[in-house]
């Protein structure tokens, strides 16, 4: 199973994306986002990016999603929409699931069955080799480079985030 772990995690990733794109109430969207964040972390870790995966858990799930969950809980309605409560939401979810099942079957079984529509191959998007030298991990070096060579990027993104907060406060303040 370990050889197929990235494939399995990617399938769960896509299914959870379908889960929140079919637009249930934001509370349930956040729930599925937790699952997709965790699974995405697993995918990155399988390519050697342990630091980035832990960043996802810590900052994305543990910081941003927690704040999102609290604010949504304050603003939610009495009976929020689940996937099965609304026909449209359930229809979109089932359609997405169906498309994912078809894609998985195509990937697994395209030799045994006659295929009508063929993709031209993954091409440049497939990663065969992570490209690191094996001596040090490239992603940790990248984080170190962000704070040394990329100081200007840190300044600009930090300023953008601060201005983002100011803008949101200004827009929602009203008169």
């Amino acid at each position: 199973m370990m050889t197929y772990i990235v494939f399995i995690l990617s399938v769960i990733f896509v299914v959870s994306f379908v889960g929140f794109s079919s637009k249930p109430s934001p509370i349930y969207g956040g729930l599925v986002l937790i699952v997709s964040g965790g699974v995405g972390c697993g995918i990155i870790m399988n390519f050697g990016g342990s630091f980035l995966g832990l960043m996802v858990f810590l900052i994305y799930l543990g910081g941003m999603l927690v704040v999102f969950g609290y604010t949504t809980a304050m603003a939610t309605e009495q009976y929020p929409e689940v996937w099965v409560s609304n026909t449209t939401v359930m229809g979109v979810f089932l359609l997405g699931l169906l498309m994912e099942v078809m894609l998985v079957l195509y990937v697994l079984k395209s030799e045994e069955v006659g295929v009508v529509f063929e993709f031209s191959g993954v091409g440049d998007w497939a990663i065969y080799d992570t490209g690191d030298s094996g001596v040090f991990s490239e992603e940790i070096m990248g984080v170190a480079a962000l704070y040394s060579y990329g100081a200007w990027v840190v300044i600009v993104t930090g300023w953008s985030l601060l201005v983002g907060v100011l803008v949101i406060l200004e827009v929602t303040r009203g008169d």
């Binding site: 600009v156 201005v163 803008v167």
Partner: protein
């Protein structure tokens, strides 16, 4: 708005455009565009009524879509060239997507639909910033990738913009919508010559910004947003009425005013490159623009527009003092004799 917050946000708009214009890494350019977009939203929403909120939302949605397209073009460029510097775009697909994204940001046809609606929904000063400063950043990127832009797409968009800018402005009485359609047409003129001689694009941008700045300041001085209220300026400040006449004729591209200079140079450059039908068509379509500028001057400076009698005897309150207005008016009408100086540009 709190003055400190307002200053910070205004400075961030400037910083965003500066980052776009001075970066050599595609990602920083994208960050600059996003910073610019984020910071201009509260400036567009200075008054809190539903109209400004709707205009800001429309602006945000279209510009965010354009930024997403830009990011996609950047990533396709990265995939095919392996590097992030801005020299030229190495892949035709990425080039087309990037041109479309920057056209959406500028308001070129077929992505022009947001310009009149957003300009109409916001105050005059915000509309001024929107139509002048916000055009600088996308135009600088177009300038930098101009060697690799697909000519067919760019020229189609330019010519259609001139047509739409002229034709769409014909039925308008609201001044902000007139300025919006004028902006669409001028962007069309600027992008038409981009592939042949990008220096003329920058010249046109400079003169367009001066003229638009002048027009908006004249409107702000007389606090008028419709043709009807503009036609009362003869009663309040007759000098402004004359200056409106001169500036509008300059925007229409009439010699001997400075608005003629970019059009003349662009038509000359296009004919030097053996295209004759195209500049003829462009010049003819600029007549549509001239028509609605003439209609504005006719109702404002040349005749007394029909109004009720109490409008003809207005009480004179304290007039606004706009310090920059006289130099701008001089520059936007009297620069034509300086045309031989253009030989110092590359």
């Amino acid at each position: 708005m709190n003055p400190l917050i307002f200053t910070t946000i205004l400075m961030t708009v400037l910083l965003g455009t500066m980052i776009v214009m001075m970066s050599s890494h595609w990602l920083m350019i994208w960050i600059g565009f996003e910073m610019n977009l984020l910071a201009i939203i509260p400036i567009l929403m200075k008054k809190y009524n539903p109209r400004t909120m709707e205009a800001s939302t429309k602006y945000f949605l279209t510009q965010a879509t354009a930024s997403m397209l830009l990011m996609m073009a950047i990533i396709i460029n990265l995939m095919h060239s392996g590097q992030w510097t801005i020299t030229k775009v190495f892949n035709p697909t990425a080039s087309i997507i990037m041109t479309s994204a920057l056209a959406m940001k500028l308001g070129l046809t077929p992505f022009h639909f947001w310009v009149p609606e957003v300009t109409q929904g916001i105050s005059l000063t915000s509309g001024l910033i929107l139509l002048t400063w916000q055009k600088l950043a996308p135009m600088s990127i177009l300038y930098q990738i101009s060697p690799s832009i697909n000519l067919n797409i760019l020229l189609t968009m330019a010519v259609l913009s001139i047509l739409v800018g002229g034709w769409g402005g014909l039925n308008q009485t609201q001044l902000r919508k007139i300025m919006a359609y004028s902006s669409i047409a001028h962007m069309g003129w600027m992008t038409a010559v981009l592939v042949y001689n990008p220096t003329l694009t920058m010249l046109n941008m400079l003169i367009y910004i001066m003229m638009t700045l002048t027009m908006f300041m004249l409107f702000i001085h007389s606090s008028s947003t419709t043709t009807l209220s503009l036609s009362h300026t003869w009663n309040k400040t007759p000098l402004i009425t004359t200056l409106i006449l001169i500036t509008l004729l300059s925007m229409g591209g009439l010699p001997p005013l400075s608005g003629f200079m970019p059009k003349w140079m662009i038509i000359q450059e296009l004919t030097k490159n053996s295209s004759i039908i195209l500049p003829t068509l462009m010049a003819i379509m600029a007549l549509l623009n001239l028509y609605f500028y003439m209609r504005l001057t006719y109702s404002t400076s040349l005749t007394m527009f029909p109004s009720t009698n109490n409008m003809k005897m207005k009480w004179q309150f304290e007039t606004k003092r706009i310090t920059l207005l006289p130099p701008l008016i001089v520059m936007s009408s009297l620069l034509l004799p300086l045309t031989p100086m253009l030989s110092i540009l590359d």
